[in-house]
Structures are given as structure tokens and as C-alpha cells.
Symmetry: C2
Subunit: 332 residues, 2 copies
């Protein structure tokens, strides 16, 4: 009997847990978030701006939310995904460029010399971007990205980079859209790198992806008009460039911003300083087991100022380890 009771008790626990999970899944727009302060802050903000009788009500056309990409929507460690793409392009192109064996930062990329890579400045970065991202049409570049992203895998998680996106953030994107928000990526990454896969991965059409750009030129190839990518940076959409990119591409001040590093600091300030209800959120990477733990000492996605000022500025901080029930989507 006791044994039976115990079994029965165990079964009840399992059943109750299953029912609770199912009940929560049915009406919970954020099932991958634990029931903590960050989740409550998101739900509270959306409730306030969508409730017509609320003094904080925001009409649908003004419900614009911006998301950083690297480290906010998908994993940026141990290396920005676009940097991996560039490295792979450099390796593929190396046989035609013997001089790269002696020329930095090409040498470091070819040899996988991370210490040397950490010293690459803006100028070196521009060199590799122009070497790998220019001299072809926009359509050709999109084709290269499409082929690469379809097979490139994360070195630690052994899954496609497009599956190293954060399940809780996918739920957040969907939840905001279901509540009349128009969602945009505002990233330091290249727009033409992201636009290729932003629609299937995040549900974002190309025009809702804002990022860094290279110059292009309209040309005729025979009788066919093409956009030729020039070896010239047009716009860097990072740090103070993010509010500039928002003004240029989106044309209105969003009411919510989501980031994870000091590269998002100016965007967070710009968005949350407008009048009316505002929401700022910082994803803090605290989970070395399920993902990575890093902040002020990281070269990738350094987070210090935005973390320090978050409380005073009313920004919500997500503690990834504590707040997220799962990190990545289940593998199919």
C-alpha cells in the first residue's frame, strides 16, 4: 500500500506538473521564460501600451520595437557569426591571394590566430570586409551567404548558426507582433548578410533589417541592371550609429529596445528617452553551462556601461541563467 501510495503520489506530481505546464503553455506567450521580474516587466509594458483605457496606451503605428542581433537574438560567441563567414570566405579565396599569407589581418584569419585577431582595428576590419563583401552584385553576395548559412555549424553546439537563436527571444518577437508591434533588427552586422535569412529565422522581411552597409552602384551587365557592391563602407550601424540608422531606415523613434552590449547603449538611451511609455532590456550572458558567461571583460559583446546604468535608467536586465527556462529551440 505504501509503495502504491508512493507510486500514486509520484504519478500525481507528474500529472499535475504536466497539466500546469500545458495550462501555462496554452495561455502563456512566453513559455520559455521563468516567472521572474524580467518576464513580468515585458508583460506589464505590453499590457499598458495595448490597453485602450490605459493612460500609457500607444496607437499601433507607434508600436515599434528594435532588437540588436548578435548576442541578443542569437549566439555571438566565441566569434561573431559574420566574422566566421568572412574567415571562411578568406580561406576559400586564399589560393588566389598568396600575399595574404604575410598580410594582416588576413594572415591571422587564415591561421586562426585569435590573439592577433583581437588586435585588428577598424581599418583591418574594413580591409577584410571589402575583400570579401565587394566586387560582386548584391544577388551574388546573397547567394554566397545563403549557401554558407545553410551548412555552417556552431563549433561548440554542433548545430546550424540559425538554430543558435534564443528561443525566449523568438517568443518575445512573436508576442510583440501579436500585440501590434512592428519589429526591426538594428545590428552592427551587414544588412545584406542578415537579410538573406532574417525572414525564415525571425519572421522579419528585408526592409525590417537595419545594419551596416557597403556602397553599391547601379550598373548594366549587358542589358541587365544589377547593383554592384563597391569596396567602400557606406554606414556603420553600431554604438552612436544605431540611433542614426534608426532615424534613416525606420524614421520614427521606437518605444522599445532590446540589446546585450555597450554597442546598444546609445540605442537604448535614444529609445527610452522619448516621451510616453518606454521599454529597454539588456540580455546579460550569465550561463556558461547552456551558453556563455561574459560581460565587461569580453572582446565580443562587451557589456559594462549599459549594465552599470541599467537600474538608474529603468532598463530591465535579463539574467540568462536565472530567467530563461531554455536557451535554444529544440532540435527537430
Amino acid at each position: 500500500m505504501r509503495a502504491d501510495f508512493k507510486s500514486l503520489g509520484g504519478l500525481v506530481v507528474v500529472l499535475v506538473a504536466a497539466v500546469t505546464t500545458a495550462a501555462r503553455a496554452a495561455d502563456d506567450p512566453l513559455p520559455s521564460w521563468n516567472d521572474v521580474a524580467s518576464r513580468k516587466a515585458v508583460l506589464g509594458f505590453v499590457a499598458r501600451v495595448t490597453e485602450e483605457k490605459s493612460s500609457d496606451f500607444v496607437p499601433v503605428p507607434d508600436r515599434v520595437a528594435v532588437f540588436d542581433n548578435d548576442g541578443t537574438l542569437w549566439c555571438e560567441q566565441p566569434m561573431y557569426v559574420q566574422a566566421v563567414f568572412i574567415r571562411d570566405r578568406i580561406r576559400a579565396m586564399a589560393p588566389d591571394h598568396p600575399e595574404w599569407k604575410r598580410l594582416q589581418p588576413f594572415k591571422a584569419l587564415l591561421e586562426g590566430d585569435r590573439a592577433a585577431l583581437a588586435d585588428v582595428g577598424q581599418e583591418g576590419l574594413v580591409d577584410v570586409v571589402t575583400a570579401t563583401h565587394a566586387g560582386m552584385t548584391s544577388d551574388e553576395f546573397a547567394g554566397l551567404v545563403r549557401d554558407w548559412i545553410a551548412r555552417a555549424e556552431h563549433p561548440r553546439f554542433k548545430r546550424l548558426y540559425t538554430r543558435c537563436v534564443y528561443q525566449p527571444m523568438l517568443e518575445l518577437l512573436a508576442y510583440l507582433r501579436a500585440n501590434g508591434f512592428k519589429t526591426f533588427i538594428v545590428s552592427g552586422g551587414g544588412v545584406e548578410f542578415m537579410r538573406v535569412w532574417a525572414e525564415p529565422v525571425y519572421g522579419l522581411p528585408p526592409s525590417q533589417v537595419v545594419g551596416s552597409t557597403v556602397r553599391t552602384r547601379y550598373e548594366l551587365r549587358g542589358e541587365t541592371p544589377v547593383l554592384m557592391r563597391l569596396p567602400e563602407v557606406d554606414f556603420i550601424d553600431d554604438h552612436a550609429g544605431k540611433p542614426v540608422g534608426i532615424g534613416k531606415f525606420i524614421g520614427q523613434r521606437p518605444i522599445a529596445a532590446f540589446g546585450n552590449s555597450d554597442g546598444d547603449y546609445e540605442m537604448l538611451r535614444y529609445v527610452t528617452s522619448g516621451s510616453g511609455p518606454r521599454f529597454g532590456l539588456v540580455v546579460h550572458h550569465t550561463d556558461a553551462d547552456r551558453e556563455y558567461a561574459y560581460d565587461r571583460d569580453s572582446t565580443v559583446g562587451r557589456l559594462a556601461r549599459a549594465l552599470d546604468e541599467a537600474p538608474a535608467r529603468g532598463w530591465t536586465v535579463v539574467d540568462m541563467k536565472r530567467d530563461w527556462r531554455v536557451v535554444f529551440p529544440p532540435e527537430k
Copy 2:
């Protein structure tokens, strides 16, 4: 009896006409278009790309249509509306700039010297744009435009410029959107000039307005972040700049383009040269009575090459006088 028959016949004609008009209005998405080739071409294209069983079917995410603004969606004669805005700004600012009385093109603008204005080159244009469009925040500039556009009237039609839009084109925008199209303006005009009123007038949110830009800089005013407009042109979205602007802001090749001048030629070619079903349309201003009649000899909205090549390239040409039942929306 004969007289009665005649009256009765007349009444029947009137009644039949009234019934026909009512019936057509009820199910006709383009009631302001006469039943001519251009209207049929539009309807046929939309039917083909939206019919799932059609070999020309286009999925919703690829249904992107771009519209020039000046001369395509609203009247650009006798002067581009933004040029009138600039002239009025110059006049308002003139007391603080006595040197403008001797300096071209300011002198010509202040004196309304249209002959001298016609000679203003790109450089002179940049001078007046930077003098009137920079040195303030984006929000302050939007406020100036908002105040001006709320009261500025067309000199001939004596109605607000925002009511000098083409009713048939408003119907076309709505019809395309009802069929899953995402519609964009791609104009040589300044984005921050158009974005202020594009939503109420055309139903287009700011992010769906592509145009020329000046550089902006993120700055703090005290503790408040602002975007400061710099006296520096960032991008000219005209002629070969239009496909470049499409690539940069929209990020995919539209399947339909609507223009009225040679400034739209490259955009029309770029859009209609993609694979799959494509649609190009040129509004030809042929109606001196109801609007204006101009093409290859006009300094504003010159149309020659796009008109000459339209038949060979399969572009539909609207003869405004013949094709449009009404030009402007009824005044309320």
C-alpha cells in the same frame, strides 16, 4: 406618346447609367480609372500574381511595389512641393541672412525669379537644402514640415498640397495592399520631408518611405539624446540612385514600379528586369485642363527616354487625360 417615350427613354438611360456606376463602384477597386488598357493591365497583373494556380503566382513576401512620389502620386507642377517648402523657409529665414539678397540661388528664390532658378545646378541646390534642412534635430525639422504642410496651398488649385494627390493612384495603392502587396515610396525628395505626412496621406509608415537623406549625428542635449541634422548630403535617391536606395532600404527587388519621369527610368528597368512577372507603369501628364500637360521639354519631371522605351520594355503608359475619370480627390 412620342414625347413620353423620349422622356422615358432618357430616364432609362440615366437610370441604367446610375445603376452601372453604382454596380461598378461596389466591386471595382479602381473606380476613378476609365475602362482602358492601363486599368486592364493593372488588374491583369494583380490577378496573375495572386492566383495560386497561376504559373505567375508570387508569394506575399515577394509582392513589393515601389512608387515615385512627385508627379506619380501628387502634383509636381509648377514646382516640386519640397522646393516650395524650401523657398518659404528661405523667406522666413531671410531677415537673419542679409547676404542672401546678393547670393544665388537664395536671391532667385527670394525674388521668385524662375528663370534664374532653372539654372541652379546640383551645387546650388545643396546650398539651399543644407541652409534650410540642417542645424536642427530631426524632431525639430519634422515639426517645421508638419506646420507648413498643414497650411500650404497649391497656387492654381487652391487646395492643400496633400489634397493635390491623384485619386486613381490612391486607389491603386489601396488595391495593391488589399492584394498582399507591401507598397513603398522611392522618391528623389527628402525622406524626412515625406515621412511626416506619408502615413495620413498615403497610408505609408515612415519605414516605407525611401528618399534622399542628409547626414545626422547622435548627440546629447543635456541628458536627452537627439539626432542632429548636418549640412551634408548623405544620399541622393534619384535616377541610378533609386535602385541603390531600393537595395539599401528595401533589400529585395520589387516586382512592380510606378513612375512618371526619366528620374524613374533606372528604377523601372531594375524592377522590370527581374525574373518572373514584372510590372512597370509610367504616368504621362497629358491633361492641361484638369492638371498639367508636359513631358520631354519640362524642367520639372522631364519624361523622354522612359516614354520612348516604354513600348519595347512592356511598360504601361497612363494617358492621364484619357485614362483617369477624376484626377484629385473630391474636396470635403
